[in-house]
Symmetry: D2
Subunit: 365 residues, 4 copies
Amino acid sequence: MNKEIRKIALLTGGGDCPGLNAVIRAVTRTAILKHGYEVIGYKFGYRGLYNNDYIPMTTKTVSGILHKGGTILYSSNKDNLFDYQVEENGKMVKKDVSDVAVENLKREGVDVLVIMGGDGTLTSARDFARKGVNVIGIPKTIDNDLAATDLTFGFQSAVNVVTEALDRLHTTAESHHRVMILEVMGRNAGWIALHSGLAGSADVILIPEIPYDLDRVVNKIKQRSNSGKQFSIIVVAEGAKPKGGEVVVNKVVKDSPDPIRLGGIGNKLAADLEKRISDHEIRCTVLGHLQRGGNTSAFDRVLSTRYGVAAVDLIHNRDFGKMVALQGNKIVSVSLEDVIGTTKTVDPNGELVRVAQSIGVSFGD
Amino acid sequence: MNKEIRKIALLTGGGDCPGLNAVIRAVTRTAILKHGYEVIGYKFGYRGLYNNDYIPMTTKTVSGILHKGGTILYSSNKDNLFDYQVEENGKMVKKDVSDVAVENLKREGVDVLVIMGGDGTLTSARDFARKGVNVIGIPKTIDNDLAATDLTFGFQSAVNVVTEALDRLHTTAESHHRVMILEVMGRNAGWIALHSGLAGSADVILIPEIPYDLDRVVNKIKQRSNSGKQFSIIVVAEGAKPKGGEVVVNKVVKDSPDPIRLGGIGNKLAADLEKRISDHEIRCTVLGHLQRGGNTSAFDRVLSTRYGVAAVDLIHNRDFGKMVALQGNKIVSVSLEDVIGTTKTVDPNGELVRVAQSIGVSFGD
Amino acid sequence: MNKEIRKIALLTGGGDCPGLNAVIRAVTRTAILKHGYEVIGYKFGYRGLYNNDYIPMTTKTVSGILHKGGTILYSSNKDNLFDYQVEENGKMVKKDVSDVAVENLKREGVDVLVIMGGDGTLTSARDFARKGVNVIGIPKTIDNDLAATDLTFGFQSAVNVVTEALDRLHTTAESHHRVMILEVMGRNAGWIALHSGLAGSADVILIPEIPYDLDRVVNKIKQRSNSGKQFSIIVVAEGAKPKGGEVVVNKVVKDSPDPIRLGGIGNKLAADLEKRISDHEIRCTVLGHLQRGGNTSAFDRVLSTRYGVAAVDLIHNRDFGKMVALQGNKIVSVSLEDVIGTTKTVDPNGELVRVAQSIGVSFGD
Amino acid sequence: MNKEIRKIALLTGGGDCPGLNAVIRAVTRTAILKHGYEVIGYKFGYRGLYNNDYIPMTTKTVSGILHKGGTILYSSNKDNLFDYQVEENGKMVKKDVSDVAVENLKREGVDVLVIMGGDGTLTSARDFARKGVNVIGIPKTIDNDLAATDLTFGFQSAVNVVTEALDRLHTTAESHHRVMILEVMGRNAGWIALHSGLAGSADVILIPEIPYDLDRVVNKIKQRSNSGKQFSIIVVAEGAKPKGGEVVVNKVVKDSPDPIRLGGIGNKLAADLEKRISDHEIRCTVLGHLQRGGNTSAFDRVLSTRYGVAAVDLIHNRDFGKMVALQGNKIVSVSLEDVIGTTKTVDPNGELVRVAQSIGVSFGD
């Protein structure tokens, strides 16, 4: 019954994130070199599991990928096998096809499924666990907003990219006496804006957790002007919103005669500030996909490797239904049942916000 | 009459550009250390000249600025003293205030004015030369589209930034089987798109000089799909346009109820491709101000230093009304009268385009 | 008696370290903006305190320094005022001049002295505390080997530099089928080698805490050869040593006829391996000072800012004789009396070493 | 007789150099996509040609390598088939085995051999041309010292690495009031030292072409001290030498009891300066292999691609025995017979040296 583990499978779901390849490498190497497991990798997340589309994983497959962003297993953003779009009688319908996945795992002799993903992907992981699949979860969110883990890989890499962008904007802001706005990722949580704002010397940091008052932002800019600083840098998370206002969706309107793009919060803020500030030009940059790509930072390579090895430790100990996590400096494991659906947001009264306020950063509140 | 040169003044006009500080440093150091000139720097370009707002320049002023983007003298984008907005009898009117500038130079005892700028700024430089001011021009355009010089500083720094962005987009494009579009600077000339497209392994490069056919772009993407490459990278200059189409202006509509942003060519292309390509997601990133900022590349630091030293050589030789330029490997000087108003665009039949085509890059033509 | 705090002084001691300027900025801004303290900065560490050589610190003084390595207050490596070299009657003698320092502080009206430094510098801090000076310590060691704090700033910046160097060496190693050795900092502790070795995909990591057996290193290289990997990357901490061997001092013999350099452990290892490995060339690079310089990483800018703000919090609470520290994710304070003289080394049986071993890294043991 | 070209072979010889992979990619893609040639790649340079050890090259083989340093074809440093070490009757002897190579080419049906390498490698290329082999040369030297071409790929990448190192050393030099020496590549020519010294704000640049006078170097440091600059940065090419002195060989003495390293010119200079300068510490860093590795710069990726395409153009035009070269902005071809054995050194009276002197750089002369 407690049969020996011989074969494990990996899959990556959701948006790509620096560190995924480092996890894939660590899991694969540890599984093969330390325990002699066979390893396969499903392609495109759950879609590959459904289609039984996989590749065998060897130490050669994972050679030279440690530093690379993205995922060599590919990923897809939306596929949920418990509510999956399939064609039936010529029509597209949504249905639960998770049994197909379970069948595939059985037929291939996969003993454990290692799933890297964010809240949505891990919800399915939990649901597969409930169906009796041996599952190990590895938390992946560039936004760092997963509960139960202090840090997720990819986050620090994104903070590096944003900080470098802020460093760049400084030279132009200063040369032209401008207010430069940088819109960054963070729909529900302002971690990226907060960390990179601190690291990149932002004057104003706007995050979802602290609705802002436009007057306060204007005051901060004017106060800087009065003290001789003729430029200001604002970093704004995409989910930030004015007090009493709504989140502004940043999207392309495809069916309009002209291709237009409804500006997100960054552009809204620029438009709002232009009406209030006359002696500085206002400019907004939306960083977008550049935050996800490129090489994984040294920090995230180490963290990802730790996660990967810990995941195999759990497998070896037959401790399934768990997600690896970082708490303080320690790698621990938590039950998937406990972590789903909880978001970790910035505490408006927490240390980091207080640190920023202490050195003079305004949150527009 | 041929009085000895004792004092020179610097000013920087137009958009900021990596390398300006390196030029300022080279001019200042050479002027002081080699010839014993006194040096001052007008702030905010021509506006500072009009307001007689300047700072004395010493070797200390220019210490530690070689690598920094931006300009320590600040810049402004639009000020033309030959058609300048001033208040008169309570109304804003446009008038020629260039005599005020000439007066300021005389009163301060400035023998030569060194002007760093693009076509607009250098047009004024020529006009001041016609009024008898001893002027030296230094070409500045990040777009590299100034005639009479093979290369302008800042261009290679911008190409580095764009290439790094393309490197980043590759990992996401590949992981998600996407078509990623990167919109870059280049209103009239596609130099940045062409060089960075070559360096960043773009599959399609769209530039103003070669109007594109959407069908050809679609074909290139499908042809890659068919040969197993499930992603494509497109770099598009902001001035690129479809055959028979217009340039799409990328701007914010400030007075709309929602703050909206009329998408530029990148977003238009994304919208157009989405209607034609079903098996890949399409994403567009607009790089914007990030291309101008940050540290100056090693290449541009050397080029800027060469320009700065050459400008002082011209001063020492009393060879005024000239602009320094790079032709082949040589620093030369050309008459300001000859260079104004001419733009250097990419030759659609030139070597670089042919090189790109040889390795399989499509220009959509 | 419990007189109000009005003036604080800063000093930086020991080797320079990325993050010092970020701490200086955070302390200065928080002290001035939040509490209205006056701030001065002694130059060159304790030497400046002895000579009463200081500068007033304002928000302007600390503007634009957040990202810069080094210290705007300068530092010196060896000055201990409790055993200080002074001239007396024409001879250089060592004596305790700490009373001069205390006098200077009193005369200048300095209420609290904030000292950034490593174990040596903080030992003096404690000794000044014992003399009744209000002292706050901020831990500084690029090696991350200070007890009582989980992380010191500068460490992650150094790991980034080393990791980038390892990335570079890979391409050459692979192209030429070489064994490349990189000698990095870490006289007593292997933290930098361990973290960067993990992040930079080293095959062998040699650290002071785990004396190595040359045979094992040779075996690892041969085993890689046999499995088709014709190159190996070794990262070695300067304090690493063979089993039963001594630490090899990396120093220049200045009085020799030729200027010669006694190779450190990296060169020794290269020489030793050359006698044992015939089918690969062996090359050693000593990274040296490049590990300390350059820009501070985003991570360290945040950590340093947190330390700086926390230090001022301690001042405000009159909680003197303490050092700020990071434990888990929390900034805490510990007594200077408790932390001096204790070193935090890598646990040979700890998680990180085990993680590295799990993915196949050899420690030569 | 003038038979159609159907198959070409590539090989890379000498030290690895950023840009080799970009050339390999451009040649392979152009040959296949534009002309339908078959392409093979010999491994390890001439050694692979002798052993007939090659791989077929497809567009897939060269996918994803544009930015990577090193060479996917591997390289070896010393193999000369006209004077090759072979075993004969149990002894190692040197003999001309070039006929074996010619036979291999014939047997494989290779019509043209494309050889990337420096002076040594290209000398053999010429010798094979003399034997009737259709040969095209592509100049490769990171030192940029090949005659007949204005620029070689890899050079600008190396200058970037050195410049970044100089930027790093500045922060430490300034914080500790040190003289920092950086020894860089350049045995016969000082191009890397000169360009990176200019870009990295060196105070002293020592190159092989301008023997230095130690007194002058000391004076420069003292003069800076007197003017308030308490640190100096010296960049020294490995082939630099004092007036009347010899080049100092930087090598490891392997047979000594202790592993010792005869310091190169950087360490010698440090030792010499320590005897003359008492108020600054002197430190030397030898950059070594870090200059060759890592990612290829955007500039070199473009230049390499141009070379690669031009090489295939020559093949298509049956214009053999030539080397591609850059003259001014133009890619041209020159006869291999004309270029062998000539070195391009820095002109001590040329523009760049004069530029450096104008801004106050000392060459120690």
